[in-house]
């Protein structure tokens, strides 16, 4: 079998092992992420211990502040919501063979789009809220589509363009919030507050945005496995040549998958604006995109599994502030633990420890430079 013959490949994708059953599912899907997380916590414990704090106490603080009180639980759900959605955004991309590193930028334009739709119009709730949410999704989809179109029609790697679009989005929303969409007579760089009619309600301690995110994750679990369009996404991800022979428009599907991915990240931003912050401020919404990658790989590109993965990371992010306050440990220890988790789930370190006798093949989930 020659895997190196470029004429056999399209879009730079090669399948090193034809017996492979699907992306990311060679090893029992639950065991590896759990062991990886536990080992990452062990490494984090060493870092905490080196700073002279008892790791058990630090972890107790990290989780008890987040999970021990109703307010903490509300915050965890709020924090997890954009994480579920950026995780889904990365997941949908990976399924279609696209590595969307731009969830951060798509989330930002979605957040500011929803803020504009939320304060600029006077509409009844029944229209205003869905409109503001959809407008945020549309902004995210449009932003991601730049990368999708360039990938499909100009063979430009989405990896580079989405990273560049992140940087552009950061500058763009900063400009928008400091000039054209700025709240009048305010020293702060921020948009006006959204109207009451565009606000996502909180049911008791459960934010409605969180329920929406869960519903979307469940929908995509169904969509990717049970619908024709979902099948198309998976097919262009696994084998674009076969997809073309099966009559699937590879280019159209790439653009669509990227747009859907961007819409999901945009939804994350919209919910953040409409349900949590109530306006757009550039200082909010930082760093969520990278977490989306960690979540998608921790969930092994399974939409339903993004929910527990996002909840875990949301809990750690919620508890990080208390960690610094009560133990003096830098909250960035969470970033280290998450990065090590990502390393363990994606590199075959843990897999080799767990499954010593099996021949573990690494799977190719991204499609290289796309040329």
């Amino acid at each position: 079998m020659s895997t190196m013959d470029p004429s056999r490949t399209d879009l730079g994708f090669t399948d090193p092992d034809p017996r492979r059953s699907g992306p990311l599912d060679r090893i029992p899907s639950i065991v590896l992420p759990i062991v990886s997380v536990l080992l990452a916590f062990a490494v984090g414990a060493i870092l905490i211990w080196l700073q002279g704090v008892s790791p058990l106490r630090a972890y107790a603080v990290l989780f008890s502040n987040a999970l021990g009180t109703p307010e903490g639980l509300l915050r965890v759900m709020e924090k997890s919501t954009p994480l579920i959605l950026t995780g889904l955004a990365v997941t949908v991309g990976l399924r279609a063979g696209l590595f969307n590193i731009g969830a951060q930028g798509q989330l930002l334009v979605g957040a500011i789009g929803a803020a504009w739709a939320g304060y600029h119009f006077q509409l009844p709730v029944i229209v205003h809220l869905p409109f503001a949410i959809l407008f945020g999704m549309l902004c995210g989809a449009a932003w991601a589509s730049i990368a999708g179109v360039l990938r499909a029609y100009r063979s430009v790697s989405e990896v580079i363009t989405t990273i560049m679009l992140n940087a552009i989005a950061i500058a763009l929303v900063d400009y928008l919030a400091s000039q054209p969409l700025k709240e009048e007579g305010q020293p702060l760089t921020r948009t006006p507050a959204i109207a009451e009619t565009a606000t996502l309600p909180v049911f008791g301690i459960v934010p409605s945005g969180f329920l929406l995110a869960i519903a979307v994750a469940v929908f995509f679990g169904w969509f990717l496995t049970r619908t024709t369009q979902g099948f198309r996404f998976n097919t262009i991800g696994l084998n674009p040549t076969a997809a073309r022979y099966a009559g699937i428009s590879v280019k159209g599907t790439i653009v669509l998958a990227m747009a859907v991915s961007g819409a999901l990240a945009g939804l994350g931003g919209a919910i953040e604006t409409l349900g949590v912050t109530g306006r757009f401020e550039p200082a909010f919404n930082a760093g969520l995109g990278f977490d989306g990658i960690t979540i998608a790989l921790l969930a092994r590109a399974n939409p339903i599994a993004t929910i527990p993965a996002a909840l875990l990371i949301g809990t750690m992010r919620t508890g990080a502030a208390a960690l610094q306050f009560q133990t003096g440990i830098e909250p960035e220890v969470v970033d280290v633990i998450l990065a090590i988790t990502l390393l363990f789930v994606s590199a075959p370190i843990v897999a080799r420890l767990l499954f010593r006798n099996r021949n573990i093949k690494q799977t190719t989930v991204t499609s290289g430079w796309g040329s």
Partner: protein, 324 residues
């Protein structure tokens, strides 16, 4: 870009620089010096990309490799109180990070883009966790004026009155070009990046060559990081590299995976940034700062959209080598 167009563009830019120099010497030299400072880390980082991709390995982790090196170099120098030691620590960290990618992408045959992404995220996590405020460097790096050459008008003050890493950035592309296209190592490296099965058949150890190339290329990422922290700014902040590692990959592509081409592309990038800053500083144009900040990224996307499809990456890039 086809070589003809690149030459034509270079000549036009050269003439324009001479015209500007005749009109305003001080400003022209200052814009060019800014451009070079902007280009140095991009040149070094683009060389990392070229060595890796010519060997068949995508290195999306250059950003993280630079960030770790800048961090290690800066705090190494600040803690030991020795600039040379700090620089060596920074460069060494680059090589360790190169080896990290080599283990993941070559030995373990991980998805190369994910292996690089792991490096980037790990670098952000580690450097922000261990970041400490209030550290300062024990001194400044020396500016070395090369006798005679530095007295040439225009060229002298821009090119021949610099720190050591700047000279390295100007020399490394030339050396790498010779190594890649005129030596046995270069031929083997290109073979491994284009058609590893053929290289393997003719007795080249594909895995070993890829591993060492990716590892040694890390030294250049270390130099880029150390340059930023020690020579260019004398500071380190969280998220210090600000996407330069990714821009360098775009520069590698514009340069058609050729060291000299990438050197030119990096200069072009530096020049646009230098001009934009000068125009803004002189209040010639009232462009909001955010749009100036966007410029290199917008330019990257535009140029990629134009040149993509006309230049081909090494055929085997991104594909772990499996023996048949």
């Amino acid at each position: 870009m086809r070589a003809r167009y690149a030459y034509a563009l270079a000549i036009i830019i050269g003439i324009a620089i001479l015209v500007f120099y005749a009109m305003d010497q001080v400003r022209t030299v200052s814009v060019l010096a800014f451009s070079l400072r902007y280009a140095v880390p991009l040149i070094l980082a683009a060389m990392v990309g070229i060595i890796c991709e010519r060997s068949g390995v995508i290195n999306i982790g250059i950003e993280g490799q630079m960030l770790m090196s800048a961090f290690a170099g800066f705090f190494g120098a600040a803690v030991t109180g020795n600039l040379i030691l700090g620089t060596l620590i920074g460069v060494g960290t680059g090589m360790i990070m190169g080896a990290f990618l080599a283990v993941g992408a070559v030995t373990w045959k991980m998805d190369q883009i994910i292996a690089g992404t792991v490096i980037n995220i790990l670098a952000v996590g580690l450097t922000s966790f261990f970041y400490a405020q209030g550290q300062v460097l024990p001194g400044n790096t020396p500016i070395v004026a090369i006798p005679v050459l530095s007295d040439i008008p225009l060229v002298g003050p821009v090119l021949f009155e610099n720190g050591l890493f700047t000279y390295a950035a100007l020399i490394v592309p030339l050396v790498l070009w010779v190594l890649l296209f005129k030596t046995r190592w270069g031929l083997r490296t290109r073979a491994v990046g284009e058609k590893p099965s053929a290289a393997d058949t003719s007795g080249v150890g594909v895995q070993g060559l890829r591993f060492w190339n990716v590892t040694v290329a890390g030294i250049l990422a270390g130099m880029a990081g150390a340059y930023l922290a020690i020579e260019a700014t004398g500071t380190f902040e969280r998220g210090f590299t600000a996407g330069r590692g990714f821009t360098a990959l775009a520069i590698m592509i514009f340069g058609a995976w050729n060291p000299i081409g990438a050197l030119g592309a990096a200069f072009f990038f530096g020049l646009t940034q230098g001009l934009a800053s000068q125009l803004q500083a002189d209040e010639v144009v009232a462009i909001p700062q955010q749009f100036i900040n966007m410029l290199p990224y917008v330019l990257t996307i535009l140029l990629l959209a134009i040149v993509s499809g006309r230049i081909k990456p090494p055929a085997a890039v991104g594909k772990p080598y499996e023996k048949d």
